[in-house]
Symmetry: D2
Subunit: 391 residues, 4 copies
């Protein structure tokens, strides 16, 4: 088990990250920032956080950026950062889909590595151009198909590659949600608005927003490319301009076959990304909503529950884990909550205000005392043949 951290020994510094998009009111930008922070190898150093200059400025201050590293425009940011001695090492592009391409080009031209949200662009032509530019630049260009970062997804890929399943026959992949089951885009939801707007989201709705993740996961785990598909896209919510449900049949280069379902109108499904892969010698199943278990069914043997960092986990999975088996990865968030609540209490004192009442739930020294008393009572009771003892 490895606990990660800023282990860049030689470099002796954190890498500097810039961000395009992700200002006030955005969702995925904040996720990118947490992700960058978690293992302590990045610091947020600059941002063009909104296409609205005023919002960009306020958002930058929220994030404690230095004033001279808050930009109202990504082109300016790219031009200036490339010349700074402590300029950003990489930029994260977290705008709506249609704005990815221009921003990515600007930073590639400035010689800055790019981390770009998916889908890459809204048209195939733009995508191809961007890929060409990226390859010519020699720069690192990552696309945040983030589900490939799960330890057991990487384990699944390694197992397929190692031949544990034999030749792959069938792939069943699905990504189902229900948050667009009603016409949310007319209620003021910014997230729903741009995702259902062809101008900002591109030619597809659910297919672009989540179908791409399912597709990427299928190719990532199997290591085999899809060569053709037959698709039935549909819009169930009246008046919506993009698909909100799609059924597809897939054929893979190797002869494997598959199905893909993506939906944003499947009532009761929150974020149901699930993949099942069946080969000649066994099957694998992984579900994003229960990501700490990979079910491996060798043909003719009982299914095995491979748990993150637990027995049966491979080196590649362990390399992507932070905490021991049994601690679901939410463990870190639960732990973080304690720190955040304490920060809130301290900040409230420094700012001479009342803390958020929720922050007062943090266990105190008195709970610590209870724990010590509990231990002593347990030991004393057991020494007396399990007699009842007061606490």
């Amino acid at each position: 088990m490895t606990i990660k951290g800023s282990d860049t020994k030689k470099l002796n510094r954190r890498l500097r990250l810039g961000m395009v998009g992700g200002g006030r009111g955005a969702f995925i930008g904040a996720v990118h920032r947490i992700a960058a922070r978690l293992d302590d190898r990045w610091e947020l150093a600059a941002g063009a956080l909104s296409s609205n200059p005023e919002r960009a400025r306020l958002s930058g201050r929220d994030l404690l950026l230095r004033e001279d590293r808050i930009y109202g425009d990504f082109n300016e940011m790219a031009r200036r950062e490339r010349r700074l001695k402590d300029g950003i090492d990489a930029v994260a592009i977290v705008t709506p889909n249609h704005a990815h391409a221009a921003a990515a080009r600007a930073f590639l031209k400035a010689g800055i590595h790019v981390i770009c949200d998916k889908p890459l662009t809204t048209t195939r032509r733009e995508a191809d151009q961007l890929a060409r530019l990226a390859h010519e630049s020699g720069l690192i260009f990552a696309v945040t198909h983030n589900y490939t970062g799960y330890p057991l997804v990487r384990q699944a890929r390694a197992m397929v590659k190692a031949g544990d399943l034999g030749e792959i026959r069938v792939v069943q992949v699905e990504y189902a949600q229900d948050w667009l089951a009603t016409k949310l885009e007319e209620t003021g939801s910014k997230q729903a608005e741009w995702r259902t707007d062809p101008a900002r989201s591109g030619p597809a709705g659910a297919v672009g927003d989540i179908g791409t993740h399912a597709f990427n996961l299928a190719e990532f785990i199997t290591g085999i490319e899809v060569i053709s598909l037959a698709a039935d896209l549909h819009t169930f919510v009246a008046g919506r301009r993009l698909d909100d449900n799609a059924h597809m049949m897939l054929r893979f280069a190797s002869g494997a076959q598959g199905m893909l379902w993506c939906s944003q109108v499947a009532a009761g499904q929150e974020n149901g990304l699930r993949i099942r892969v069946y080969g000649e010698k066994g099957g694998l199943e992984w579900h994003q909503e229960n990501p700490n278990v990979l079910i491996h069914s060798p043909l003719g043997e009982p299914p095995r529950l491979i748990r993150r960092n637990g027995a049966g986990a491979s080196e590649v999975a362990q390399a992507a884990s932070r905490i021991p088996a049994g601690h679901p990865e939410g463990y870190l968030e639960g732990f973080a909550q304690i720190y955040t609540d304490v920060a809130e209490q301290i900040a409230a004192r420094l700012e001479e205000r009342e803390p958020n009442p929720y922050a007062l739930q943090v266990p105190t020294v008195d709970h610590g005392v209870r724990g010590v008393r509990f231990i002593e009572a347990a030991v004393r009771s057991s020494q007396r043949k399990a007699a009842w003892v007061p606490l």
Copy 2:
């Protein structure tokens, strides 16, 4: 849904954290650091990271601490930090159990807030003294019973408090692991060594290490104190000096009754902290290994699956959440892995070395192009009545 971050507007800075313990080879220290980092309200500013001065120094450098904030001794750290203008706001004490008390006293006397790992101390006398000192100081003193930070644990507590279960009758709580099923302490495991050593761990083994968490959780969720217990502690691994399994019957102040089981020899249990609470009007069940679901069974109605940040989640639970329902909290770690892998690639270039091969799994612009092609193929196929189209 709230994405958290450094939202201390007035303060306009992150809080400064010092750490005692948690140097090279330690486990929980790294968890504390990630936890402190996650919501961006803390920066690690100082450390006495080991009782061995040389290891303390090296560990401090690993963490990119400033040389003058790396201490070989926590007393020195407490004395000096209190006088610095940008001295630490709080200290995290993450040493083995026996060393908590002295360190905590030092920082309380220096007027610095304390975050201390559990169990608070190894004796009840020390615990009581420390509590007195903490109360007199007026400082914040948090104990990291970290499981109270889970959104749905807080929701459970709120539901009990709101009377959703009626009067509480029965509490079943357990915390079962298997990592000490063999004599691991003789194989060089530092974690196993101190936990089975009475001098460092105190009078109890499993009871102190994990039983305290179970006990704390039972009192936290019910809001009722245990007033007496009958305990049967046992050591199953021959030659071990502390208990590795314990059975207890509990009586609560309100008349409720309960059972508590903790074990570190339960083969197949990784980190099985689980609690069930039954009242006159309903029951609740929460399992740490599947922390995104709280099962609520109103008497005479179908059980309901309350999901973190999903339908039915209360305000208090939402206040402790970072990401939307359906994204299990491991989502952030998966996402972070992408950033960490990109950092590794960039750092390798800057340091002119080969990157860790695992870091090369990150999706690239080419995967982005595949995604865009997928979208276009799907739309095209669907427009042609689901004809097969190549990709």
Copy 3:
């Protein structure tokens, strides 16, 4: 809760069942007989249990049929039984698929009700003819799409009909097995042989054997007919003559859309019949391998676990249940095992032989005594403040 039984008050007798097929070595015939016996409304009275007359005779004796009711030929059976005063009320046809039609015709012509295994016939023409004949006869003609007999499947249908889900949008149905993942038909498996033989199984393999169940379930629960489909059938096991995997996209009369997957090569899947139905107002999920739970997700509310005969179960589901909630239906089989083991012990004595050793596991009077001692010890210990008492 209703415990069923022979409650045909007026009739004052059990109905008489004949059987075609289902002799020694057959599988589904024995299932039909248990099914007929369970609720005590049928007695097996006649049989043409094999097309091989000698096997038919031996099979009839196995089942304790009267010699004059054992037939070597179903036509003879139909002719004779129609004239008997205590002739059969109905016939169960449990042969391989290709033989269904001729047998069914014979009994319809004899004025005898028919219970026929699925798929009805191997060609559409035969099916249509048979249906015409059945309708003209006015006789009862049941097809054993047995999954429609599950209480929670009937509940699901009732909920859709009642509008609990609003207008149906999406149906996901699948039936996956792995028993044909290798070329079992060349190893002497009678079950595999006829199912992969076009002459006996008809034009489809997995599609006919299990896909029809999935299809029937989708129409049964939704109450909506499929009007068109696009199908991708494939044979993965080299040399097999019929499909062993199929992917389909479905369109329903109402505008709903769906996907259907059936497979007999999905390693790790034993009998994975699963259906999910999503409507405007909610979703339903049912899994045959865990048939005692129906998950109902009203849009915007926590999912509910409706359990057979439990809270939330409707009248229609209760009408199809035998035992209280929480007793999974396997409860009856577990209970039956005790009776069967006792029968084996008694029969062994009567036949002066050794009983099957497995039958000796049945609890005896001594276990009964242990239980009484346990009760008394528990009461005594509790009366003494939970003191330890010997047993």
Copy 4:
């Protein structure tokens, strides 16, 4: 896979069963009758079905007993049946607890084998006397601790015996229900009335009714006797005269330790009988509400899901199974429902009445035709490269 049936070749008849108790309004008697019927080795031949002679007579007619085999008194039944040429081979005693002993004595004295419900008696003295009598008689005396009849419970026992878990350390067993969470005994529930009445139920409530099952299961699977216990019984529902919840700590003869919880007031628990056994080399978990899976966790290896009759199932488990893996045992009940519905339709015609409307849900020849059309459409579509075809 074995499909069971009347395979008593030499005997050439079914065994004859008598029943004491189990008349109109009773619950467990009907379960015993289904259990006896399932494998076709018994026929119900005689009954003293109620202590009320009129109810006994009506109940006997309900069950189609011959008039001369319906008794108003079990003593008379014992005396007469022993003299009949076709007298009963065994008697099933299914009365409330307090009446078991006298009935059992009567049949033992008549030389008739006994199958008796649990708990055996209401006092230890009676139990010991009865055991003595049973042993002296040389007759078979089975007690229906029915959970020992589950295939995977037998597999668990066999695995422990074979040493798969090494020396047993810890046993956690529980049986939790919620049906007595309110004062049901005052609402006219016959089941609740006698179970909470010390005169009919004996000195314990939940402990006697369900705790005995948990206790029996623990001893059955481990093969080790409990030698002492410490128990905390409690009555949560005001005014109830017997315990409705109990917590116990157990010590086994081998040095193993355990906990036992039984409750009838645990809101949300329907019939939660669950056992977990941990040994030096591995752990086992089985849950009655999901009885088709046994989780085996060899220490240091991924947990395995052993499924009834599936991969990894032992001979002893297969001997107690009726249907293939993946078909949960409820499969038979679902199948039976089809037969019962058809019987209802036929009986209604014979009796010239309307059938129960629920019985009309049975699939007909038209559904059979739909199935055949589905197959043909699927094949046709696939032959045309998955073109859409109408159905």
